[in-house]
Symmetry: C2
Subunit: 385 residues, 2 copies
């Protein structure tokens, strides 16, 4: 399947042949996504932007009709900041949580899958396929159902019960693949090749990240933040990061806004990772980019079950480099402490989401700082599991 | 606790002495809520209304600071309408679902509890209390946590596992009361009297409906619909109904909009009920209002577990009378068929919410009709239970 509109490697600019990232860079051991050009936002009136990926359809690489369940336009909630015991009486900055759990299937993935399924429809696909042990599978199932496409989700046995039930209720075919994530992805790769199913998630190794068209749906997070914090300088946006689809999408959105004069200064992006699996944190400790992009870490179990990669997807490094950003890891104790702190303020998120606000909370201690953490997914799915 | 600002009985206009509805009307066997005056929306620019109860704070009876978790401003999603087999080839109307499951705790109750908890703070309360076997308890717990108040939730043993876990995670004290709903409510009534806890839900018999200030949060559903369907005539808004807090709140919102010239014609309101427990449907079959307000039905078990009353709360009758509305019951088979139809379109709602779109789907068969069903709560909580 040749991608339309054309995609180019973010790193070496070669044109893409399929949806499995840049093969030339993969041969160097580096997983790099291929993307369409940035959109031109000149003339856009942000104050009138209604939010969500389809609120600015011209910024998307899809020409067909929208596929939507009302995703996006999620609220920003100001979190309480405890005074810093080490700096008694000192003022602290502002910490906000953008609550993506309010999306129709309960996570940020809806922004991507809305666009990815619309791209699949435009490509004439009758079946979409995702490899996911979590929220991406549920979102793929929902939007495929919405568009009337068949959906196959490759999972492994670690899928939490609530998510499994959600995928099933949405009518997707769930194929449980025993063995490693690599083996699961290989099964998906064979299905894409043999049946010409339309791939909505990453399936090659090293992973380049998810479907490029789908990922453009994440730019809407940046547009919404720019609209909602209009006139204020956002210091940092902290993103729970695994393959960096969301991080890279937000970064692209900010770059488009800045290029069109709609944002004076792009915020610093911060990748928040669980310590048990923190390739970006490890990469950015290395002295030069050639070493950073070839980083490999061991991946251990973590309460943040939605996150975990061995290598930093290049699209994420690119986003961090361009925004003078950073990567910070939090251990499971810190993640669960933040999870409880959010619940004590009325918000139940996935532990994977609490990684973001755990990291952001530290950054927001600086007086005058304005920091936003992306709260990627609701914790409701796991409650009775 | 004397309510501030003052409340008056909707039916006999006597002033309220507490939060247990109108005692004079209760002596007649009729549960009637006491409410503040309608708000004056003159001069409001609906196009600039950001949604949610706090988007128009002057329309609320609370003077203190907002308590918010980003509730409201939920999306409207156009549903597919199957052609009517009985009317082959005929055009059909439009059916939309307002998806309240996107609220922070997953249901419309957040709109009320945000305002109710702010009213509790303004009243100087340190503890709020709710009697609920479902979403109201979770919402009360979340907003109490947000405001730093203690929250006690009286439940019975029928609470689904997901909801129970949600209430616990949010730090509320859950008191499981064996026995009937009436006995549970009596326990809450004693607590309100003895400890001066601030009541967020109904607890007297016959039930007048929930806390009047909290209920004013539901007006925001009407404001959002008027904004989002600006310039079009909404024929009917269909509301899953038990004690009619949501129904009455939406009706009040539309009346305010019409009085201020912000809406040419108020939509017809339709109470959607499970057949196993359908007091409004039974009431409206009776010839005169004196009989309607004294209707009593038997209440059987239903898949729509969030719904079920023996009597029509007077606030709901009032809303239906004023809007020339109606009440329609759907049986469990129809509810579950609609539940599956929504899932086949990508949406997982509580069965109690599917009552609304099941009833609305029939109304939308009329060519040219524009019908909105309120999808009150996400189905994610029940999935793994």
């Amino acid at each position: 399947m040749t991608p339309r509109p054309p995609l180019r490697c973010l790193r070496c600019t070669r044109p893409a042949e399929g949806f499995d990232g840049c093969r030339a860079c993969a041969a160097e051991g580096i997983g790099v996504n291929t993307m369409p050009p940035l959109a031109d936002l000149a003339g856009v009136d942000l104050a009138a932007y209604p939010g969500g990926p389809w609120g600015l359809p011209t910024a998307l690489p899809v020409s067909g009709p929208p596929v939507t369940l009302g995703e996006g336009n999620t609220p920003c909630i100001r979190l309480r900041m405890d005074p810093d015991p080490a700096q008694d009486g000192h003022p602290v900055g502002e910490l906000w949580l953008k609550y993506e759990g309010g999306n129709p299937t309960g996570s940020h993935k809806d922004r991507a899958m809305a666009v990815g399924v619309a791209a699949a429809v435009a490509a004439g696909a009758d079946t979409v396929v995702a490899a996911s042990s979590g929220n991406a599978g549920a979102a793929a199932a929902a939007y495929a159902a919405r568009a009337g496409l068949r959906c196959v989700v490759f999972t492994n046995e670690a899928v939490p019960a609530g998510l499994r039930a959600q995928i099933d209720a949405l009518g997707a075919e769930r194929r449980v693949h025993p063995g490693t994530t690599g083996e699961r992805n290989s099964a998906m790769a064979r299905a894409v090749e043999e049946h010409h199913w339309y791939p909505l998630t990453s399936y090659s190794s090293p992973s380049p990240g998810g479907n490029p068209y789908a990922n453009e749906g994440y730019k809407s997070v940046a547009y919404e933040l720019a609209r909602d914090f209009s006139g204020r300088r956002l210091d940092a946006v902290v993103v729970p990061t695994s393959r960096a689809d969301l991080l890279a999408g937000i970064g692209r959105g900010f770059r488009e806004l800045a290029a069109a004069g709609l944002m004076a200064q792009e915020p610093r992006l911060v990748a928040a990772e669980p310590s048990a699996s923190a390739p970006f944190t490890a990469a950015l400790r290395r002295p030069d980019r050639a070493e950073q992009e070839r980083t490999r870490v061991t991946h251990g179990p973590t309460v943040a079950f939605s996150l975990g990669e061995e290598r930093p997807c290049w699209q994420g490094l690119d986003a961090l480099w361009r925004s003078a950003g950073s990567a910070v890891a939090a251990d499971d104790d810190a993640i669960m402490a933040e999870h409880r702190r959010l619940a004590a303020e009325g918000l139940i998120l996935e532990p994977s989401s609490a990684v973001g606000s755990a990291v952001a909370r530290d950054l927001a201690r600086t007086p005058g700082a304005l920091v936003v953490a992306i709260g990627t997914a609701t914790g409701l799915k796991g409650l009775a599991g």
